[in-house]
C-alpha cells in the first residue's frame, strides 16, 4: 500500500517516525481510500466512537462523586443530581447516552444486515462487533444497577437469576455472582468495578474492529469489491470526515433533545424509589434496548429453555456470515432478501413492543410467533435464500451505473430521452 512510501517532511518528523511510526499511522488514516458512494447509514461508526468517548468521560466524572455502597449509593446519586455542579447534566448525559449508544449500534447493525457487510472478507470485523455489543449490554445492565433504585435492584435480581437455570451448579454460580444469598452490597461493589472496566475493554476492541476494517476496506451500498485507490474511492479526509461530522451534529441534536427536554422518558419512575429487597415492583421491564431479548426469554414457558433461547438469539448473529449463503452482499441486488430484511426489522420491533407488555394472553401469543420467526429467519430463510434467489446483475464498478449500463434499464431510457 501507499502507506509504506510515506516520508515525513520535517527532519524531526522523520527522526521520530523512524522510531515510532505514528505519523505513518496518521497518514494512513487520512489517506485511507473510502468508497465514494457511502451513504449516511455509514456514518454511525463515527457516531458510535463519539458515544463511547462520551460515556467514558461522563462516567469518569460521575465516579468522582458516586459512592458504591448499598446504604449510600442511592443518596449519592441524588447528591450528584442536586448538589454537584452540573451533576444533573453529566448524569443525564450518561444515562441518556447509554440509550443513544444503543440506538446508534442498532442502526449500525441493521445497516450491516441490509448491505451484507458481515460477509467475506469481513467476518472478523462482524464478530468483534458482536463481542462489543455483548459487552455493551453487560456494561449497560451493571450501570443501571448502580443508582440502587427499585428497578436497579430487581433488574439485577432477575438477570443474575438467569444463571440459576444452569442445571446443578446454577445456584452456586448465582451465590458467587452475588457474593451472598441475595443481591446486596458485595454485588453492588463488584458491579461498579466491572462497569468501570468494560468501557476500556470496548475501547480496545474498537481499535481491533477498525484495524480489521482497514484490511479489506469499507463495504459500500452496492456491495461490490472496489479497487483502491481508484476513481471509485475518495480519501477519508476530508470527504468522510466532513460527512461523518455533519451526521454527528444531527445525532447530537436528538441526543440533546432527550438530555434537556425529556431526560427521564427512557427510564422508569420506580428507579427513584430506593432498593427494597422485601417488595418487587408490580411491573418489571428492562431498558428499551434489551426488550426484544426479554420478550424471547418470556415467550418460552420453560426456565432453562427460555434462557437458552435468549442467549441463542444474540449468539446466532456471530454465525451469520456462514448462515447467509448468498455471495451477493447488498440487498439492493437481492429482491427477495430485501423483503425478508424488512420483515425481520418488523419482527424485532414487535418483539420489543411485546417485551414491554405483560406476558399474558394475546401479547404472549404474538411474542411466541415473533420469537419463532426470528430463529426461522436466521436458520432457514437465509441459508435457503442464497441458493434459490434470482439476484439482479451487479454493476462492474461504483462509477459504472452512473456513467452507463445502469442496472435499471427504465432509468437509462429516461436519462437518454432527457438528453
Amino acid at each position: 500500500m501507499s502507506d509504506q512510501e510515506y516520508v515525513p517532511k520535517s527532519k524531526f518528523g522523520k527522526w521520530f517516525n523512524d522510531r515510532l511510526p505514528l505519523l505513518t499511522l496518521a497518514s494512513h488514516l487520512t489517506e485511507y481510500p473510502t468508497p465514494k458512494n457511502l451513504n449516511y447509514w455509514w456514518t454511525f461508526g463515527g457516531i458510535l466512537t463519539f458515544c463511547l468517548i462520551t460515556q467514558i468521560v461522563t462516567g469518569l466524572t460521575l465516579a468522582m462523586h458516586y459512592i458504591a455502597h448499598a446504604d449510600l449509593a442511592f443518596e449519592s446519586v441524588e447528591h450528584i443530581m442536586r448538589d454537584v455542579n452540573y451533576g444533573w447534566l453529566i448524569r443525564y448525559i450518561h444515562a441518556n447516552g447509554a440509550s443513544m449508544f444503543f440506538l446508534a449500534v442498532y442502526i449500525h447493525i441493521f445497516r450491516s444486515l441490509f448491505y451484507g457487510s458481515y460477509k467475506s472478507p469481513r467476518e472478523i470485523i462482524w464478530i468483534i462487533g458482536i463481542i462489543i455489543y455483548l459487552l455493551m449490554m453487560a456494561a449497560a445492565f451493571m450501570g443501571y444497577v448502580l443508582p440502587w433504585g427499585q428497578m436497579s435492584f430487581w433488574g439485577a435480581t432477575v438477570i443474575t437469576n438467569l444463571f440459576s437455570a444452569i442445571p446443578f451448579i446454577g445456584e452456586g454460580i448465582v451465590n458467587w455472582l452475588w457474593g451472598g444469598y441475595s443481591v446486596d452490597n458485595p454485588t453492588l461493589t463488584r458491579f461498579f468495578t466491572l462497569h468501570y472496566l468494560i468501557p476500556f475493554l470496548i475501547l480496545g476492541l474498537v481499535v481491533l474492529h477498525i484495524w480489521a476494517l482497514h484490511i479489506p476496506g469499507n463495504n459500500n451500498p452496492i456491495g461490490i469489491d472496489v479497487k483502491k485507490p481508484s476513481k471509485d474511492t475518495v480519501p477519508f479526509h476530508p470527504y468522510i470526515v466532513i460527512k461523518d461530522g455533519f451526521a454527528l451534529l444531527m445525532f447530537m441534536i436528538v441526543f440533546a433533545f432527550f438530555v434537556f427536554y425529556s431526560p427521564n422518558i427512557l427510564g422508569h419512575a420506580d428507579n427513584y424509589i430506593e432498593a427494597n429487597p422485601m417488595v418487587t415492583p408490580a411491573h418489571i421491564v428492562p431498558e428499551w434496548y434489551l426488550l426484544p431479548f426479554y420478550a424471547i426469554l418470556r415467550s418460552v414457558p420453560d426456565k432453562l429453555m427460555g434462557v437458552v433461547a435468549m442467549l441463542s438469539a444474540i449468539l446466532i448473529l456471530a454465525a451469520l456470515p456462514w448462515l447467509d449463503t448468498s455471495k451477493i452482499r447488498s440487498a439492493v441486488f437481492r429482491p427477495l432478501y430485501k423483503q425478508f430484511y424488512w420483515i425481520l426489522v418488523a419482527d424485532v420491533l414487535i418483539l420489543g413492543y411485546v417485551g414491554a407488555m405483560p406476558a399474558e394472553g394475546l401479547y404472549l401469543l404474538i411474542a411466541r410467533v415473533a420469537t419463532a420467526y426470528y430463529f426461522i429467519h436466521f436458520l432457514m430463510i437465509l441459508p435457503i435464500l442464497g441458493f434459490k434467489e434470482k439476484t439482479i446483475p451487479l454493476p462492474l464498478s461504483i462509477t459504472d451505473p452512473v456513467l452507463a449500463g445502469f442496472p435499471n434499464t427504465e432509468m437509462v431510457k429516461k436519462k437518454e430521452s432527457l438528453n
Binding site: 432477575v158 441475595s182 458485595p186 426456565k303
Partner: protein, 169 residues
C-alpha cells in the same frame, strides 16, 4: 542427533507446562473465590422471629440472608385446600405435610423460583401467591401450579424455639 534427546525434551516441556498450570490455577483460585459469600455474610445465617402477634390467615415477611421469608398462619380452609391437591396436578410434587411441620404455620423463602422476584400474598388463580414479574401462580402451600417457575417456593431450615418463636436457618 540421537533418538532419545527429543523425548527427554518433550518430557521436560510437558512437566514444565503441568507445573505452570498448577501454579496459574493456584493464583487464579483466590481471585475467583474472593467473590463467594464471605465470612461476615455467612455469619448472618440464622434469625429468630416472634410470631405471637400473627393473626389467623395473615402473613408476615421477615428478612433472612437478605431474602424475604413468608410466615403464614393458615386458616383451616387453606390447609384443607392444600391437602386436597392431587400429586399428579403438581409440577414439583410435594405433600403439604412435608412442607408445613405444623400445618397452621407455613414458613418459606418468599422468592419466586423463576427469576427471584417476591410473589404477592393472597393473589393468583390458586389463592396462594402470584409473582408479578413473569406470572407464576403458587397455591396455599407455596407450590408452583402455573407459569414459568420450575419449583415450589423453598422451605428453609427452621424450628420452633418455643410456641411463639421461630428460628430460621
Amino acid at each position: 542427533m540421537s533418538e532419545k534427546k527429543p523425548e527427554r525434551r518433550e518430557f521436560l516441556f510437558t512437566a514444565s507446562y503441568a507445573v505452570g498450570a498448577v501454579g496459574v490455577g493456584a493464583v487464579v483460585w483466590p481471585l475467583v473465590d474472593q467473590m463467594n459469600p464471605d465470612a461476615s455474610v455467612k455469619a448472618l445465617a440464622s434469625t429468630e422471629v416472634d410470631v405471637s402477634s400473627v393473626q389467623l390467615g395473615k402473613t408476615i415477611t421477615v428478612l433472612w440472608r437478605g431474602k424475604p421469608v413468608f410466615i403464614k398462619r393458615r386458616t383451616p380452609e387453606e390447609i384443607e385446600e392444600a391437602k386436597a391437591v392431587k400429586m399428579e396436578d403438581l409440577k414439583d410434587p410435594e405433600k403439604d405435610e412435608d412442607r408445613a411441620k405444623d400445618p397452621e404455620w407455613l414458613v418459606m423463602v418468599g422468592v419466586c423460583t423463576h427469576l427471584g422476584c417476591v410473589p404477592l400474598n393472597d393473589k393468583g388463580d390458586y389463592n396462594g401467591w402470584f409473582c408479578p414479574c413473569h406470572g407464576s401462580h403458587y397455591d396455599t402451600s407455596g407450590r408452583i401450579r402455573k407459569g414459568p417457575a420450575p419449583l415450589n417456593m423453598e422451605v428453609p431450615k427452621y424450628e420452633f424455639v418455643n410456641s411463639n418463636t421461630i428460628k430460621i436457618g
